[in-house]
């Protein structure tokens, strides 16, 4: 027999896709899941220009990505008492100023929403199997190496 129904668990929305995302639409979707939301923290990662950079290409490990991100999102939901959580990560070739990743963390109180946003992006950067290579105007192409700063940010949580 099933255990008696207690409380609806918060399930994260996790997507890995080529296409871009509509932040407003994702926020509306998140707001429909709970009237307990008082604030939504968000982070959008963007392809930063400079030094002749033209585009980034993102490679990923299909299947493992979704699994790792879902695990991180569930950890955030428990740890920061979230009322909702969305993570969308793009793969493929992305031009300068294009969005790469969207994190949304909804909570009754803003401190939890903002903390969870930071937790998720810090841990995702070095914990989810994505790899970026850079493509420059002069034709050079090279893999981005992981930064000690990012490793530190992730292990701080």
């Amino acid at each position: 027999m099933a255990a008696p129904y207690r409380k609806m668990a918060v399930a994260p929305r996790v997507v890995v896709q080529n296409d871009s995302f509509d932040v407003g639409e994702e926020i509306s979707r998140l707001l429909q899941t709970s009237e307990q939301t008082g604030g939504i923290g968000s982070f959008v990662g963007v392809v930063r220009g400079g030094d002749g950079l033209v585009a980034l290409s993102l490679e990923h490990y299909p299947g493992m990505c979704e699994q790792v991100i879902t695990g991180l999102a569930c950890e955030a939901i428990g740890r920061f008492k979230l009322s909702g959580c969305t993570v969308i990560h793009r793969v493929g070739r992305l031009l300068v100023a294009e969005p790469i990743v969207l994190i949304l963390a909804a909570a009754p109180h803003r401190a939890d929403a903002l903390e969870a946003t930071r937790f998720l992006i810090d841990r995702l950067k070095t914990g989810a199997p994505f790899w970026k290579s850079e493509e420059f105007a002069d034709g050079r192409r090279c893999w981005i190496e992981s930064r000690a700063e990012d490793e530190d940010a992730a292990s701080g949580w």
Binding site: H60, L124, K125, A128, F130, W131
Partner: protein
């Protein structure tokens, strides 16, 4: 024949090795380290691609693992550089 494992390579490692992965017989391999030692013996490109074990990450069945993690028939073992998402 003691079964097979699927081995995958990603990003810079995939490019250096020149393929995305392969299915290989398990033979007497019991751990990730054992699997890698076999690779190094049979194909010199692996010494070039894995100069230091420390900077290579490994996942067994899509979960990050250590090099002494056990490997059994049917497992999916992936090798890749440190991740740079977000």
């Amino acid at each position: 024949m003691s079964g097979a494992v699927t081995v995958l390579y990603f990003a810079a490692l995939r490019e250096q090795i020149g393929r995305a992965g392969e299915v290989m017989p398990l033979d007497n391999i019991r751990t990730v380290s054992g699997l890698l030692a076999g690779k190094r013996k049979n194909d010199p490109v692996f010494d070039k691609a894995f100069p230091e074990a420390g900077i290579i990450r490994v996942a067994v069945n899509r979960v990050l693992a250590d090099f002494d993690a056990p490997v059994k028939a049917g497992d999916e073992v992936a090798f890749f550089p440190p991740m740079t998402g977000g």
